[in-house]
Amino acid sequence: MTEGQGGTAVEVKGLVKRFGRGESLITAVDGVDLDLAAGSRTALVGASGSGKSTLLHLIGAIEKADEGVITVGGEEVTALGRGPAARYRQRVGFVFQRFHLLAALSALDNVLAPVLPRKVDFDRAARAGELLDAVGLAGRHQALPSQLSGGQQQRVAIARALIGRPALLLADEPTGALDSATGEGVMDLIHELAEQYGFTVVTATHEHAVAERAERIVTLRDGKIVSDVASEGS
């Protein structure tokens, strides 16, 4: 996977992830095979506990798979140790349902937070400013998260996810904490940015309207893919 060079392909084979042990053992992802084209926009849908978020976490290397292989842009993610996994995540953008912004930092500094510890080959402040402008927060750069609405906070989170010029954006219920109108706006923004920067988008959502905005809808149930269809709305 090359940073900032358009989207990247994701290949998942025989992926299994279990939680707990004994009687409480749960197989969250159960033998999933999935190929995502570079620059594609895919929605993972399913009921709560279907395994869509876990699959997203596994692709983003914030969970370790028990079985199976994930290859992103030719790099076998499931084989990465802790350090390489962290470096891999620097090239993946994450958007969360609860935003997880740093409360004490301004919108601009929140966007900059992922690149704080490392050297980058671009002007970080300028890029952060551009991204905030791009997500519609021009003039709100110095606002604290507490001074922003939920939708605005999620936009900050999207800008933060893009600061490292990711080839893959993983969005876990990005509209879950937002009203439907704001949620739609956020999804539109993600897809617009995906068009603009060319990264691959995988969104986990249980909202039909959100899923409809993707090109492809993969439905999971009990950790298995039960359908994989092109979106009607795409």
Partner: protein, 979 residues
């Protein structure tokens, strides 16, 4: 409520366990620290009590004798007694004796110096060349004192003429063979010589002195061929049977080296033992295997009078008597009329004395033995008047050095020639030839000037008096002639017309008088020589790390204790009625008070009351010395005339009231430490409890939303904390005994049970603010995401350091608590380090205070280090709690690519910032404490505190590795999901 609490604890096991551990750490730390403080307090108080009483409780001195230095600084001079000759009347002493509360009142009357002669022998056998027929040895003696620093070059030279030829020794026959009487009517004895059984008459004319009026006797050498040649000895015996005093360079001693290797000399050698040359008896030649040359010592022995019964009660003088009997009040002086010198008007008075078996005089005689290269060409014919000049011109080669100490001379010849006998049965007649107990000289108090640094400099009182100062009497030991640092005066009013004959009833060992704690010792100059040790490196080096003690010269700064004790009953015979001291003969009274049982209020009251009564009854100077302790007073001793350089000394005086002050200080210190420890524990527990409540923020909000009243919410919080605190207390109780053993804390049932109420108290106190806050909070606030709670203006955050600062500022109270705990912990250690560095191990006050100080410093260091450890734990806990509270944020950062190392850096930065603030504040607190305690903060203090701050920072930063690891190892997805 109970069910609720149990349910909360059971379902929030992690949180409950965390709180329990935190409370356990706090309460265990609290109980150990307070236990340690309490144990130390008990030990220190016991130590002070055990070392608070010296030989006597109250010192009574003549009115007006307390110096300004003593009055200003609460001191009592250590060298008072030796310079005080009377001032207290017998009636005053008796009044003191009769006062209620006075257990013992021991008077001491210093009487002055008595001249006693002693001698030592210099063995020169090894320097004799047996192959030579005639040879001359020279002995150059030098008196060495002041720890070897003073060397009197004007000592003496003695010559030993050794010949293998036969020597004729004179024998004495009465006139008229020699003829007539001396001009003053003394019968003349004439020397006669025999050789091979026949009377011979050598010509003695060559040895005649210009002052000799008649015949004299010297050894006569028989030269090969039978010629008889007199050997001019330089000290001719006059027919009157007396000798002239040795003249420089001294006499020649003649020794015949016999074929069998023995030496024959006349008893001129032994004549030096006698007070007046010992030539009353006719000289008789003696033979021995060794050739030993006598060297005469003139010893000033200090005479004092005591009340034996009081001394026995005070210091057990009776048990210190190692030979004969102790002095007794029953031994009244005996007066015998002159039965040996009919017609004399003098009285012969026998008084009981007890000699010390220790001279306690720092003096030695160093004798260089040289061989003289040639004999004077006219050795047999040089008149004695010019003999010294002739001899001193001869070249001499040093061959060996012989050294004799004052103690050996004293023990051999003073004590060795003393007959111990029962006073009542003693015959006075034979004592006539011994010492006349006539204290003719006294050395008064040193006088001082104070130098700018506050050191006392003794002022010079001229050189020792010459013979002219004694109106024709010979001076005593003053030929040593160093600059006197005490005013030397002749006691002209002793009953010199009478002969005071000391009857030695016993000999005591001053080291065997009753011993008292050294830390509270008061001056006991009756038995112990004072001493002053080097105060600076140069002086310490000069003194060989030893101390300057009593010198041989009566004018020495440090006086010896009395070597001769007599009874107060003898005073009226020793002191003439016209002597002012005869009216007030006592120099000081040492009083021991009954019913004093340590450093407490009742004893203090009793001592003060008795002291006041003594003052009122007698008008004398009164010092309460119970509870005092030796303290070093700086004395700058000026250079002497015989090589001793100027010395900076520390002389032990007594600082009054040390024990009481120490007990108060120990109590105050314990209270201070208790408060500090309580604060650290509260801060630690407070953070843990607060975090525990904050973690339940949402639950509490839900309860509020469903109708729980604030009071009930607060009660729920308090009840949960109380339950966990009780469990922590029980665990603490289980740990108390082994931990007490581990830390050397005195353990008992109370202490073992203390953790339960302590944990409850600490937990509830710490939980109270959180409980009140929980009750007051708006229900909705707890349900909103935490992110909405941040207010104010955003600050630029473009580095991990800046992010760490934001993290720390996010929970300012918790950070402040951690910084506060660190401040106290580091401050406590800094104070100990600072005080230590300020004094650099040197004495801080009195000996007792120093001894307590050493123990206090050790205990303080332990308590301070434990407090610091608790503070470090509190800081690490604060960091950990901070991580727990924003683990969602941190997980998000990790999800965006922060590595575990980045995360550790962030937390380490937070720890470092907390540590820097806490350590800086602690170091400043320690500096302030050091300043307050010592009144100064020299550069070593700054260096030590700087080093401490750096080390403490490193320790705290290291401690933050634990939460840093926790932050880096939390599962990201799980954390995000839980958020």
């Amino acid at each position: 409520m109970t069910r609720w609490v149990w349910s909360q604890v059971r379902h929030g096991r992690g949180r409950a366990a965390g709180l329990l551990l935190a409370l356990l750490a706090a309460v265990t730390g609290f109980t150990i620290l307070t236990g340690s403080v309490s144990t130390q307090q008990t030990r220190l108080s016991g130590f002070v009590q055990a070392n608070s009483r010296g030989a006597y409780d109250i010192l009574v001195r003549p009115a007006g004798t307390q110096s300004a230095y003593e009055a200003t600084d609460g001191l009592v001079r250590g060298n008072f007694l030796s310079g005080q000759y009377g001032g207290i009347t017998t009636a005053q002493w008796q009044k003191v004796q009769k006062l209620a509360g006075v257990q013992v009142a021991a008077p001491i009357a210093m009487l002055g110096y008595v001249e006693v002669f002693g001698s030592s022998l210099a063995d020169v056998t090894d320097q004799v060349d047996p192959s030579r027929t005639q040879q001359l040895l020279k002995l150059d003696g030098t008196w060495v004192t002041d720890h070897g620093l003073s060397k009197n070059p004007e000592s003496f030279s003695t010559y030993v003429y050794v010949t293998r030829n036969p020597v004729l020794w004179p024998t004495w026959v009465p006139a008229p063979l020699g003829g007539g009487t001396t001009p003053d009517g003394v019968k003349i004895m004439d020397p006669v010589y025999h050789y091979r059984g026949k009377l011979v008459a050598p010509d003695l004319t060559p040895c005649r002195t210009s002052s000799a009026v008649a015949g004299f006797g010297v050894p006569v050498e028989v030269l090969p061929g039978g010629k008889l040649e007199p050997v001019c000895t330089g000290e001719p015996l006059t027919p009157s049977g007396t000798t002239t005093q040795p003249t420089s360079p001294g006499p020649i001693i003649v020794a015949q080296l016999n074929p069998d290797g023995t030496y024959t000399t006349d008893n001129l050698l032994s004549s030096a033992f006698g007070e007046d040359g010992g030539a009353t008896d006719a000289p008789v030649a003696t033979t021995s295997k060794r050739l030993e040359v006598p060297e005469t010592w003139e010893m000033p022995l200090l005479l004092a009078a005591v009340d034996p019964a009081s001394e026995n009660a005070l210091v057990s003088l009776d048990t210190a008597t190692v030979k004969g009997q102790e002095l007794s009040t029953a031994d009244k002086p005996r007066i015998d009329l002159d039965e040996w010198m009919p017609g004399s008007t003098s009285l012969f008075v026998g008084v009981p004395v007890e000699y010390s078996d220790q001279a306690q005089i720092d003096e030695s005689l160093s004798t260089v033995v040289s061989t003289v290269s040639g004999l004077p060409a006219q050795r047999y014919e040089v008149p004695v008047d010019t003999l010294g000049k002739e001899l001193s011109a001869l070249p001499a080669t040093p061959r060996a050095t012989r050294t004799a100490s004052a103690q050996s001379a004293y023990a051999t010849t003073v004590l060795g020639s003393t007959t111990v006998q029962n006073f009542q049965q003693a015959k006075l007649g034979p004592l006539i030839e011994g010492t006349n107990l006539d204290p003719r000289e006294e050395a008064g108090q040193p006088t001082y000037v104070t130098d700018p640094a506050g050191a006392l400099t003794p002022t010079a009182h001229g050189t020792s008096p010459s013979a002219s100062d004694y109106a024709g009497d010979e001076p005593l030991t003053l030929e040593k002639g160093d600059t006197a640092l005490r005013p030397l005066t002749e006691r002209g009013n002793t009953r010199s017309s009478d002969i005071i004959l000391p009857v030695t009833v016993g000999i005591f060992d001053p080291s065997k008088v009753r011993q008292f704690p050294a830390l509270s010792s008061v001056a006991l100059e009756t038995y112990q020589a004072s001493q002053a040790c080097g105060a600076d490196t140069a002086s310490q080096k000069l003194l060989g790390n030893g101390c300057l003690t009593s010198g041989a010269d009566a004018g020495s700064y440090i006086a010896s204790p009395p070597q001769i004790l007599t009874t107060l009953g003898s005073l009226s015979y020793i002191l003439d009625g016209s002597d002012p001291q005869s009216r007030a003969p006592i120099s000081e009274i040492q009083v021991r008070v009954s019913g004093v049982d340590g450093v407490n209020q009742s004893s203090a009251t009793r001592l003060q009351a008795v002291a006041k009564e003594i003052k009122q009854a007698t008008g004398l100077e009164v010092d309460v010395v119970a509870g005092s302790s030796p303290t070093g007073v700086a004395v700058d001793l000026p250079a002497g005339d015989f090589g001793r350089p100027a010395l900076s000394l520390t002389e032990p005086w007594s600082r009054k009231g040390v024990a009481v002050a120490l007990v108060h200080a120990v109590d105050k210190r314990s209270a201070t430490l208790f408060v500090l420890v309580l604060l650290v524990c509260l801060l630690f527990a407070g953070n843990a409890v607060s975090a525990s409540v904050r973690a339940r923020r949402a639950e509490l909000a839900v309860l509020a939303c469903v109708g729980w009243r604030p009071r009930r919410l607060a009660a729920l919080v308090l009840a949960e904390v109380a339950a966990i605190a009780t469990a922590a207390g029980l665990l603490g109780t289980a740990l108390a005994w082994p931990l007490d053993l581990l830390f050397g804390v005195q353990t008992n049932l109370d202490r073992i049970l203390v953790p339960i109420p302590a944990a409850l108290a600490v937990g509830l106190l710490a939980a109270l603010p959180a409980a009140v806050a929980a009750g007051r909070a708006h229900p909705g606030a707890g349900l909103r995401p935490r992110v909405t709670r941040t207010r104010g203006k955003a600050r630029r955050t473009r580095s991990i350091r800046a992010l760490a600062w934001r993290g720390m500022a996010r929970a300012p109270l918790r950070s402040a608590a951690a910084v506060g705990a660190l401040t106290i912990g580091v401050g406590a250690v800094a104070n100990v380090v600072g005080v230590e560095a300020a004094f650099d191990g040197s004495a801080t006050g009195s000996l007792l205070a120093d001894a307590v100080g050493v123990q206090v410093r050790a205990a303080d260091a332990l308590a301070a280090l434990l407090a610091l450890a608790l503070a470090v734990a509190a800081t690490a806990d604060a960091l950990y709690l901070g991580i727990r509270e924003r683990e969602g944020e941190l997980a998000a950062l990790r999800a965006t690519g922060w590595s575990a190392q980045d995360m550790r850096r962030l937390i380490l930065w937070e720890g470092a910032l907390l540590a820097a603030l806490g350590c800086l504040a602690g170091a400043l607190l320690g500096l302030g404490g050091t300043w307050a305690l010592t009144g100064a903060a020299p550069w070593p203090v700054y260096a030590a505190l700087g080093a401490l701050a750096v080390v403490a920072c490193a320790v705290v930063a290291a401690a933050s590795l634990i939460p840093a690891r926790a932050a880096a190892s939390r599962p990201i997805a799980q954390t995000l999901a839980l958020e």
